[in-house]
Symmetry: C2
Subunit: 255 residues, 2 copies
DNA sequence: CGCCGGTGCCGTACGTCGTACCGGCAGCGG
DNA sequence: CCGCTGCCGGTACGACGTACGGCACCGGCG
C-alpha cells in the first residue's frame, strides 16, 4: 500500500508500458486481455465508483479473470494508475487554437476542468512525478503552443501554464470533494452543515471570530453551497488571467 | 482504509475532540496518555517519516503503549488526522497586520507556504471537508482581517483568500513531491531524469512535441531542477496579486 | 473496611489490501 | 513428439484499520 506511490522503480519497464512498446502477440486467437482492456476497465471503475474502489481484485473481477492475471499486463497498481492518467489525457480535445491568447488560455482552463469533472480520481491520483507518457507530452505541447507567442520567455510561458493549470486543479479539487463526500457520507453539503452548526455554535463563544462568521455566512448565503466551487473557479480564473495580462502588457510596452 | 476518509460520522464526537471539550481526569496520577500527547506523537511521525508511515501501530509504539490504547483518546485515524491539521494551524504566527493589502496578503501566502514546508503531510491529508476546529477558525478570521477593507464584497474577499491559498497549496505540493520522491526512491530529481531520459528519447520519434521539448529543456536549464518549484511559487504569486489589484483598482475608481 | 462501577489499557482477531511465488496450461517451433 | 514460452490464477504473506472483550486499578459508597 505504501508502495503504491513508488511507481517507475524500473524506468524501462514503466516507460515501455506508457508508450506501449510491445509487439502484438503472435498467438492465434490472441490473449484474452490486453493493457488497453485492463486500463479501460480500471478507468471505468474509478470514474463510477471512485478511487477507493479501484483495487486489483476489483479490476480483475470486472474483466472476468483471476486477480493475478492483471499483473501479466501491468507491473503493479502504481503503474496502472500512471497509464490511466496518460490515457485520460489522451482523450482531451485539441482543436486548432483560435482567438487572442486570453481566449485560448481560458479555453485550455475549461477543457482541463472538464477533464477533472469526467475523471475526478485524477485529482487524488496525480500526486507523483509526472507520468511522462505520450499523451501528457502531446497535451503539454498543445497547451504551450497556445501561448508561446505572447512575448514572454520560454521559462515564463511554462510558469504561466503551471499557474493556470494549478488553479484549475485547486478549484476542481474543491468541487470534487463536495460530491465525493456526499456519496461517502450520504449527506448533502447542506445537511452536513446543519448537523454540525448547532454543535459548533455551542463550542464557539459568541463574538469569537467575528470576521470569519460574517464573511463565512455571506459566502454561504450567496452561492447556495453546491455552487460555491464554481464561483471560486470563475473568479480565480479571471484574476489569474488579469495578472498574466499585466506582464504581457508590460513586455509589449518595453519592446 | 477506505474508511479513513469518512471522518466526522458523529459530529458531536468529532467536534468535541477538536475543541477539547473534556474534563481533566480525576485520576490520581492521571492517565499515561492524553489527546495532546497522541497528536504530538502523530505529527512528529508524519513530519519526519511522511504520511505513509503514520499508522496507528506506529503512533502507539512511539508512545510506548499498546496499539488499541490510542483509540481511548481518538475515535479513529481520520479524526486523529483532523486534530493534527487543526493543531498545525494553531502554531502559525499571527502578528498584527502591517503595510498595504498587497504586502499583507503576500505575507499570508509566505506564512502558509512555510506551514506546508514544515508539515508536508498536510498537503496530502487535507482532502476532506474543512476541519472546523478552533485554530482553523482563528486562522481564517486572521487572514480575512488582512483584506476585508480593500473595497471588495465579503463574497469576493472570501474568493480572494481562496485563490491565494489555493496557489500556495499548488506550489507547495509541487515542491513537496520532489523531496518526497527523493526519499522514497532514493534518487535525486536529477538522477531520476538521467535514468529516464535515454528511454524517453528512444520512444519519442525525433521532432515530435517540438514546443514541449524546447520549453521543457529551457525551464529545466534555468532552474536547476530543485529550485523550479520556488520560481513557480514566486511567479504565480506575483501574477495572482497583480490580478487581484486589477479588481481592487477598478472598485476604487468606481467609488 | 469491603465492595463496585467506571476508567484506562490492550491482546486477539477479522476483513481488506497489494503482491510474491509457484504450479498449471495451451500452443508452437524444432 | 518434446520442450519452451507466454498466459493464467490459486494460495499465502505481511501490512493496514479497528471491533470486541477482558483486565487492572481506583475513588466513593454502604
Amino acid at each position: 500500500m505504501a508502495t503504491e506511490r513508488k511507481a517507475t522503480a524500473d524506468p524501462a519497464r514503466s516507460l515501455a508500458l506508457l508508450w506501449r512498446t510491445r509487439e502484438p502477440t503472435s498467438r492465434s486467437a490472441g490473449p484474452a486481455l490486453s493493457v488497453d482492456r485492463v486500463v479501460r476497465a480500471a478507468i471505468d471503475i474509478a470514474d463510477t465508483e471512485g478511487l477507493d474502489a479501484l483495487t486489483m481484485r476489483r479490476v480483475a473481477e470486472a474483466l472476468g479473470v483471476g486477480t493475478m492475471s492483471v499483473y501479466t499486463y501491468v507491473p503493479g497498481k502504481a503503474e496502472l494508475v500512471a497509464v490511466m492518467i496518460d490515457t485520460a489525457y489522451g482523450e482531451m480535445p485539441r482543436p486548432a487554437v483560435e482567438g487572442d491568447w486570453r481566449t485560448r488560455l481560458e479555453r485550455i482552463a475549461r477543457d482541463n476542468l472538464a477533464l477533472y469533472q469526467r475523471h475526478p480520481w485524477m485529482l487524488r491520483a496525480e500526486t507523483t512525478r509526472p507520468v511522462l507518457g505520450p499523451h501528457l507530452m502531446a497535451k503539454y505541447d498543445y497547451e504551450l503552443a497556445a501561448i508561446v507567442d505572447i512575448g514572454l520567455t520560454d521559462v515564463e510561458v511554462d510558469a504561466v501554464l503551471t499557474l493556470v493549470l494549478g488553479h484549475v486543479k485547486s478549484a476542481a479539487r474543491a468541487a470534487s470533494e463536495v460530491v465525493d463526500l456526499e456519496r461517502e457520507t450520504g449527506m448533502t453539503d447542506g445537511q452536513w452543515w446543519q448537523s454540525h452548526a448547532p454543535w459548533l455554535e455551542r463550542f464557539m463563544t459568541a463574538g469569537a471570530y467575528p470576521i470569519a462568521s460574517r464573511v463565512g455566512t455571506a459566502a454561504g448565503q450567496q452561492h447556495g453551497a453546491a455552487y460555491g466551487p464554481e464561483y471560486a473557479f470563475e473568479f480565480g480564473l479571471q484574476r489569474v488571467l488579469d495578472g498574466i495580462s499585466v506582464v504581457v502588457a508590460e513586455r509589449a510596452a518595453n519592446r
